[in-house]
Subunit: 434 residues, 2 copies
Amino acid sequence: MSSLIEPRVLKGFRDFLPDQELRRRAIEKRLARTFESFGFVPIDTPIIEYTEVLLGKGGGETDKQIYRFNDHGNRDVSLRYDLTVPFARFMAAHVSELYLPFKRYHMAKVFRGENTQRGRYREFIQCDFDIVGVDSATSDFEILETMYRSFQALEVGDVTIRLSHRGLFNRLLASLGVDSATAEVLRIVDKLGKVGEEKVRTMLAELLSEQAVETVLEFIKPEGEFIPTLEKMEKLAGGPGEDSDRVRTIYSLIQGTGLAASFRLDPSITRGLDYYTGIVYETFLNALPDIGSVCSGGRYNNLASLYTKQELPGVGSSIGLDRLTAALDEIGEATETEGPVKVLILMQDEQLAAHYYTIAARFRESGLSCEVYPESKKLAAQFSYAEKKRIPIGIICGQDEYSRGTLNVRDLRSRESFNDLSLDTGIEQIRNLL
Amino acid sequence: MSSLIEPRVLKGFRDFLPDQELRRRAIEKRLARTFESFGFVPIDTPIIEYTEVLLGKGGGETDKQIYRFNDHGNRDVSLRYDLTVPFARFMAAHVSELYLPFKRYHMAKVFRGENTQRGRYREFIQCDFDIVGVDSATSDFEILETMYRSFQALEVGDVTIRLSHRGLFNRLLASLGVDSATAEVLRIVDKLGKVGEEKVRTMLAELLSEQAVETVLEFIKPEGEFIPTLEKMEKLAGGPGEDSDRVRTIYSLIQGTGLAASFRLDPSITRGLDYYTGIVYETFLNALPDIGSVCSGGRYNNLASLYTKQELPGVGSSIGLDRLTAALDEIGEATETEGPVKVLILMQDEQLAAHYYTIAARFRESGLSCEVYPESKKLAAQFSYAEKKRIPIGIICGQDEYSRGTLNVRDLRSRESFNDLSLDTGIEQIRNLL
């Protein structure tokens, strides 16, 4: 016999066993239903694209992490490492076939050759949703409400969505004479939650004057209430502007729809990336704030500038499904105790197999998922199968029951039996038990 | 301005625009619901695996088509090219955590660097379902019934499932003294539907004696009825055996469950691959037989022999979703004429935006998907958006209606209006219109 190949998977990759896959699908279904209830439509893009398309101008961490190779035609190709870049390419390619504003969601696998020691996966699922082609307070609000409703649909308890506006921060930094270091200051401030104020002060001091550091630290301190915080930010940034007007309008929508309890203005939210130009936000689970943001994003003024001259402003958000799933596990969100299938018809007598399959079809027609044990084994083995698969109901039908046109229903959890029922009564009995 | 990057996709790859993606999801949902109603559970595996795991002993077409490269750790890795090999690896790795018989389905992307001139994609979606850990007529039948019910669920009209048994063919060839050429004979016969009898005769003549060729041709000719065909096959193969008994039992289950009209015994079905050891089958749409089989498979006696010494017999089937979707398009299967979202609330007066979003939330709570147009534009532009997105219902509410606590419902298809309705009456009116 030839030697066996070890059935291993690559580090950072994983199998989804049935319970994990059912769970993932249930989460995705709730999210998709929420997105669709808001008029977002799904799209998909290829996993492999031209490297030139995915890397664009390139540079930075991404280049090192991207899975890149030459294909059969010796083309330089890569696996997508996020869903934003493919979406930008998609919009540039299809904007004339679509309509604007365009609201899409995309839930799919992406690939990054990251260091797995930090508990990160190299293949993971992202979930992005965006509104493109409009720059308005209402669309900003709509993304925020969609985020809020998504977490409601997932039944994760209360969330806090912390938001800010890059325009206000940029004005503050301009007034302090910070210019070339703007991006770096934003990235440092973005770390506040992780490293604390003292560390941020030290890092900022390498870039800014002592007084500028204190002004920035004063700026990023939330005042508790939304409007007082906004007024302080506005004052430090040099007075009212389009940016603070936008935030004020968004807040009036948040208040007017009764959602104010879940939103905070938090000037320390910057979302490091250069990409954002308007509001930025992060979402925290009140039950588990320490795991960090589970849904973040912001407004950008030009999605697809690498590929088209058409300006496509937009606002969007991204959910990290892996972190979220881990959080749901920790919170102990209602996990199904029943398995995926409700009824097992035991193969008590192989002569009656056609009868069993006929009954099974009737169960399915009435909406009960049902399987027939697929071989004639000791009943103990068949019951053990039902237990492992967490099937709650067993159907037993031997020659006697068959000749009388009946069957026995057994609740496999309580071991209670209901004997000699007609098929219709049996179905009713099962419904009562489930 | 820097030069633009062309937003192209690789040959053999494609974007799914919203209507296509919604359609794909609808098909997958119907299939998943059918599989789950039979007790199949979903799994997933990584897209990237060790090349050694995916290629096994290697050889053949697959090696040339596989996407293979070295990853960041210089590991020899590849993208999965089917769902069977990863499933074999999965079972070897997890059999101790699972239960047997194990019934799984898997719908996911696979990658092959095929010649795209034949209209093939390099990234495509497969849908596999298998029952592993049992070798019985009942499990053979269950796969066949699942196939039949899947196509019922897709509403593609009647199908014909053609089946045969490799054991009978092998016995015939052994009796003819064919030994080393067995696999090649099977592959030639597999082409019968495509190339016709004469061509098959010519090809077989290069391997077999004239008399043997005629016996093979006699064997693969169906007799119309199931049992007479089986009796002829049995006779030519040297008499009754386990194989013909198995086929007889399967047929009694097909008859006993009222499905006989959709099944044929067709001895020319061989499914080229060495892999199969028991029944083999293909599925044809009666409305479009010429597109070939849309769902095929068979029984194998050892799924995971490359990775484990544990014997895992099984039976399974695979649906080519791309061919099926193309077929559904051609048959003109009921395509949705409505878009994904039912109600558009027009942004008539920005001052009322919070009111619009509040109404929208109420619509969603009552199960109506709903969006608010996200900026204050001319109503004509907003109506045009609704038309492009095929939204059937518009809600118009200005200051007058707001002050009276009412809204106007407009059927955007018929242009009929229903004015000054309360929110509850409006919801009822919309339900009547949809």
